[in-house]
């Protein structure tokens, strides 16, 4: 049996080097908590699979759209209409990627609760703010490069595909770079937002249902409001906040304000999560 001990005479006195930081500073504690969370996220399979799924959603759907445009242009005999949204096709997979990213955000927290790991986690990092910050940092480290990388890659691929049909798109176009990179940023904020739901609800199913409800229900309810009010509130519904960042019809300033609004929601959830963690039994 592989588990049997090497000897029955215990020799636990293995010296451990002292803490090289002596008394670690808050920043060093946070650094360690973040490293720990990076290891945790990086050593479960679901992280890799969901990131792959998100990347594939963006790249495959985006590239197919570009190919579709090329085919349409060729069929339309003398390729007349070059009035297409230069980033639209490249970002058409963002909606599908949201599902994978939201699942990753939720699971990054809820898996701890469903497995009981949370007890070990909190015993190792009992200061809840460090834990929440560290995990958020780790989550961003995984999602940001994949999300931004996928949208940029897809845009470059689309540029090549569309040029074969004589259509030219460029990062230099008004708002294009902002929209392409911004879509990746949006997905990253979404991961943090859904992780916040994970902290608050502690269950995968509960957080997933809450996320879907937050996205769908207010959008339906707003139709009951007078149009003048609905117009003002609409952009700040959870489902709409931040989406302007990857649309070209809006000014850069308005787009960034929209993303900042979404980020504010995510930060609010994290603050709530920290407060709740402090008061709640693990």
């Amino acid at each position: 049996m592989t588990t049997s001990t090497t000897s029955s005479t215990p020799a636990p006195a293995i010296p451990v080097p002292g803490d090289r930081f002596g008394q670690p500073t808050p920043l060093q504690i946070l650094g360690r908590a973040t490293r720990s969370e990076l290891i945790k996220l990086g050593t479960v399979r679901s992280t890799g699979w969901l990131l792959l799924l998100a990347a594939l959603s963006i790249v495959v759907i985006g590239v197919f759209n570009a190919i579709g445009i090329v085919v349409q242009l060729r069929q339309a005999a003398d390729g007349q209409p070059p009035t297409l949204d230069p980033a639209g096709a490249a970002l058409s997979g963002v909606g599908a990627a949201m599902l994978a990213v939201a699942a990753l955000g939720i699971l990054s927290v809820s898996a701890d609760y469903s497995s009981g790991m949370i007890k070990t986690t909190i015993a190792a990092v009992p200061r809840r703010a460090y834990l929440v910050l560290g995990r958020t940092g780790a989550l961003i480290s995984f999602v940001l490069p994949v999300a931004v990388g996928s949208t940029v890659l897809t845009f470059v691929a689309n540029k090549i595909i569309l040029s074969s049909a004589g259509v030219s798109i460029s990062f230099a176009g008004p708002g294009v770079a902002r929209a392409v990179v911004g879509a990746g940023l949006y997905l990253t904020v979404l991961a943090v937002f859904t992780a916040g739901l994970g902290w608050l609800l502690r269950s995968t199913a509960g957080a997933l249902v809450t996320w879907l409800a937050l996205w769908l229900v207010p959008t339906l309810l707003i139709m009951l409001l007078p149009p003048s009010i609905a117009e003002r509130v609409g952009p700040w519904l959870p489902a709409n906040a931040g989406t302007a960042i990857y649309q070209l019809g809006v000014s850069d300033a308005a787009a960034w304000v929209s993303l900042a609004g979404f980020a504010a929601y995510a930060v609010l959830l994290m603050v709530l999560a920290t407060l709740l963690l402090r008061h709640r039994d693990a």
């Binding site: 592989t2 010296p15 080097p17 360690r32 490293r35 945790k40 050593t43 479960v44 070990t120 190792a124």
Partner: protein
């Protein structure tokens, strides 16, 4: 040293821990006993800051657990052998914990070796048996080489070899001057390991005694097995020695030295098949102490089982 000061924890209408004040000293194995639901686990969870006390506090070497910047170097705790992600390997589980206290990979390998899990270090813990999970939990408790070690029901799920191993480990850790605090609901298990006992019932302190004292309190007795039980009984009565007869061929004699019984049997030419001194009823003493608490658990009110 763990100092528990007027600690209480209420879950709804259930007072799981009721004004508990007790100190767990270094250099010995302190057994934490009590029936299921007595509040042992809740107390342990409050020691490492998992549960918020309703009132009171716990100090570990004069500081609260959450005030330690690298708590794994101060307290090694095993609270739940299943508190790990099933999809992560044993090695990565320990590594993720180690980096929170600035502990390196080398030490992770060492503790895996120490608990005998080196060969399965890269296997995901989903595939682990309960005993292997328990060993991994003990490995995580030893990671930071902490002066305080706290284990909740560590022998659960261990095979006899593992139980023997952990007894030796706990005694060795205490001999090194560490504070070793181990819970169990089995008196018989504690009798073999602990130097000191803290007994809890209904969340209250029932006893805080040295094992030696507990042993002295439980009356020793002599057990005699003989085919001539009637003859021995007669001889004992003639000498005015009181006894009990739990089985037709077995007499249980209290408050007499074993030598006297042997000499008496020899004088009366009584054949003895067995004659032994027993440590009497350590278990009985414990059961008597916790009797009320056990009755309490039978009522459905308790929300959380320790």
């Amino acid at each position: 040293m763990i100092e528990i000061n007027q600690l209480s924890k209420r879950f709804g209408s259930n007072l799981a821990v009721d004004n508990l004040t007790v100190t767990i000293h270094p250099g010995r194995v302190t057994g934490f006993l009590g029936p299921n639901g007595a509040g042992k686990s809740t107390t342990m969870r409050m020691i490492v800051g998992l549960d918020r006390p309703t009132s009171g506090e716990v100090l570990i070497d004069n500081r609260r657990y959450v005030d330690y910047p690298a708590p794994l170097r101060q307290v090694g705790a095993l609270l739940d052998a299943k508190a790990m992600h099933p999809g992560r390997s044993a090695y990565h589980h320990l590594l993720a914990l180690a980096v929170t206290a600035g502990i390196g990979r080398e030490r992770v390998r060492q503790v895996l070796d120490l608990v005998g899990l080196s060969d399965v270090a890269d296997r995901r813990t989903r595939t682990f048996s309960m005993g292997m999970g328990q060993r991994l939990g003990i490995a995580s408790a030893l990671l930071g080489d902490p002066p305080v070690i706290m284990l909740d029901e560590p022998v659960n799920g261990l095979d006899p070899d593992g139980i023997h191993w952990i007894r030796g480990l706990l005694r060795a850790l205490a001999a090194e001057g560490r504070t070793v605090f181990v819970s169990s609901h089995l008196m018989s298990e504690m009798a073999l390991t602990a130097d000191h006992l803290i007994i809890l019932g209904r969340g209250r302190l029932l006893a805080d005694v040295a094992m030696a004292e507990m042993l002295a309190a439980s009356s020793p007795s002599v057990l005699a097995r003989t085919p001539q039980a009637d003859d021995l009984a007669l001889a004992l009565r003639q000498e005015g020695i009181s006894f009990q007869r739990p089985e037709p061929q077995v007499l249980s004699i209290t408050e007499e030295p074993i030598d006297r019984i042997a000499e008496l049997a020899f004088a009366h030419q009584i054949v003895l098949h067995e004659l032994k001194a027993t440590h009497g009823s350590l278990e009985d003493a414990y059961l008597a102490l916790t009797h009320d608490a056990i009755e309490y658990v039978a009522t459905p009110a308790s929300r959380r089982v320790a």
